[in-house]
Symmetry: C2
Subunit: 263 residues, 2 copies
DNA sequence: TAGCGTCAGAATTTCGAAATAATTCATATT
DNA sequence: AATATGAATTATTTCGAAATTCTGACGCTA
């Protein structure tokens, strides 16, 4: 068999949590996983101060693995940290969500475009599998939010993984974390499933039919809709753009702004 | 003044090293900066094992700040780490460079496209300033490689920063690290400056003229050329695709492959 | 000779305490 | 009353040593 450039791309696989950090049963990694789940799920809300004592007690670890976990989360953009002032969960703002939505759309359009053009049979298999899992997860009662989110993410990343670009996948992973955090913070679950599953099914069909234009159009709609929904929910919840901003909610353009937002 | 979504985007600024980690005079950050410079410059070549003792002695720090610095570098994709096996400088491969080139092009095209369309006067000013610095740096003898690279990076990020998208800038930053590392590992300096400066000047003009098509075309050429150059230099240096690959260099398609490579 | 288990040596990971920096709050001053 | 000052407190960062895990070599067995 002939060696091609494509073959030499290491298959880091989708959903790899931290770039080039193969997990192991180290306390640091366990704490990282739990903390990450707590931040992305919103159980640790924006602005939460993560004190040394608090984190050590909550996750039952010492100072070293704690600090390592926090450092990794900060590199992922889920915590912020300054000089000698410890770590806090990043604040959320309308402006950042808009940015996240735009960038996510750009990245996923790129990935899907390449996936539809060059995706292998292996890829199609994984897409179909993950879709099946997703359908199954929807029927079962939503006992655990984390579990459903995991399945949802797996489906999306099965789709994207056809691009065969480790770096693009990595960036999609990072931005998806952000998307998920905002959504779980502000958008309640009840409203989602019906429209969402329809959207997923349509995406699946378009992708398997290798219909590039349709795939891109559906993706644009999907991400724009999701982003606008969360933006609207944030506004409704009274979250201003910047935490320190003076503008009251009444002054914000509101829905008009959201709909006119160029994603 | 009316509040707009754009206004609420926090200005993290270009070239921010680690997402949401505001620097301070902490030992950990100093070690991180030095280690990073050593990896990106190639002074620590791919595959170098970073032992506890070695790093502590080399940078004159204790275990905790060392571990934190290494953890951050791994999150940046400059080191790899597995379970209980410590840290090593990531290996380099043809396949990964091809991926990096592709992704960098996608990201920078996006950023420049938005910059040309929406860049402010403030942005134009910083672009012009950084270009001037770059010209000046070229005349002075290249005493320090790190310093010239810093100026070069600053110019490119001044251009990109017009996109006003913190997340896109962050990803551009991460992928540029990778590009720089590969280039400094395999492409010698003597060949670059003349063609490069011409390219920079053309880019500057196109951008200030708000000529979108020309800007994108020049960027495509610039990145494709740079990537192919480094790919060719890697092949010439005898670096196979995968470190563990069996294929000898003679079997690789070589230049034909490089030129046909779809970036 | 090849394969397997065991054991010392080395390296990484983790803990607990010391050092250093930030914060608070009471007190003094303008 | 408002602001500045400075100990006392709290929190973060760093060090040094203990605990755990990996590595490689040696000897044993089939």
């Amino acid at each position: 068999m002939r060696a091609s450039v494509e073959d030499t791309i290491p298959n880091w696989g989708p959903g790899l949590r931290s770039m080039r950090t193969t997990p192991a049963n180290t306390l640091s990694t366990e704490a990282y996983d739990q903390l990450r789940a707590d931040v992305v799920s919103g159980r640790l809300p924006p602005g939460t101060k993560l004190t040394t004592k608090g984190v050590k007690e909550r996750y039952g670890i010492g100072g070293s693995p704690m600090r390592e976990a926090l450092t990794r989360l900060a590199a992922d953009g889920l915590l912020e940290t300054e000089g000698q002032k410890g770590f806090t969960v990043v604040s959320a703002s309308i402006g950042e969500l808009a940015d996240i939505g735009r960038v996510r759309m750009q990245l996923e359009l790129q990935a899907l475009s390449q996936a539809v053009k060059r995706g292998s049979v292996e890829w199609e298999v994984s897409v179909v599998s993950q879709f099946h899992r997703l359908q199954h997860a929807l029927e079962a009662p939503l006992t655990d939010g984390d579990e459903w989110e995991q399945t949802h993410r797996a489906f999306h990343f099965a789709l994207l993984s056809g691009c065969a670009s480790p770096w693009l996948m990595h960036f999609c992973d990072r931005i998806y974390d952000q998307t998920e955090r905002y959504r779980r913070l502000y958008t309640s679950y009840e409203r989602i499933p019906a429209k969402l599953m329809h959207s997923h099914k349509a995406l699946l069909n378009a992708v398997l039919a290798r219909d590039l234009e349709k795939t891109l159009a559906l993706t644009r709609d999907h991400i724009a809709y999701a982003t606008r929904q969360t933006l609207a929910d944030m506004l409704a919840a009274g979250v201003t753009g910047d935490p320190a901003a003076e503008t009251s909610i009444a002054e914000l353009p509101g829905l008009g702004l959201i709909l006119s937002l160029k994603l």
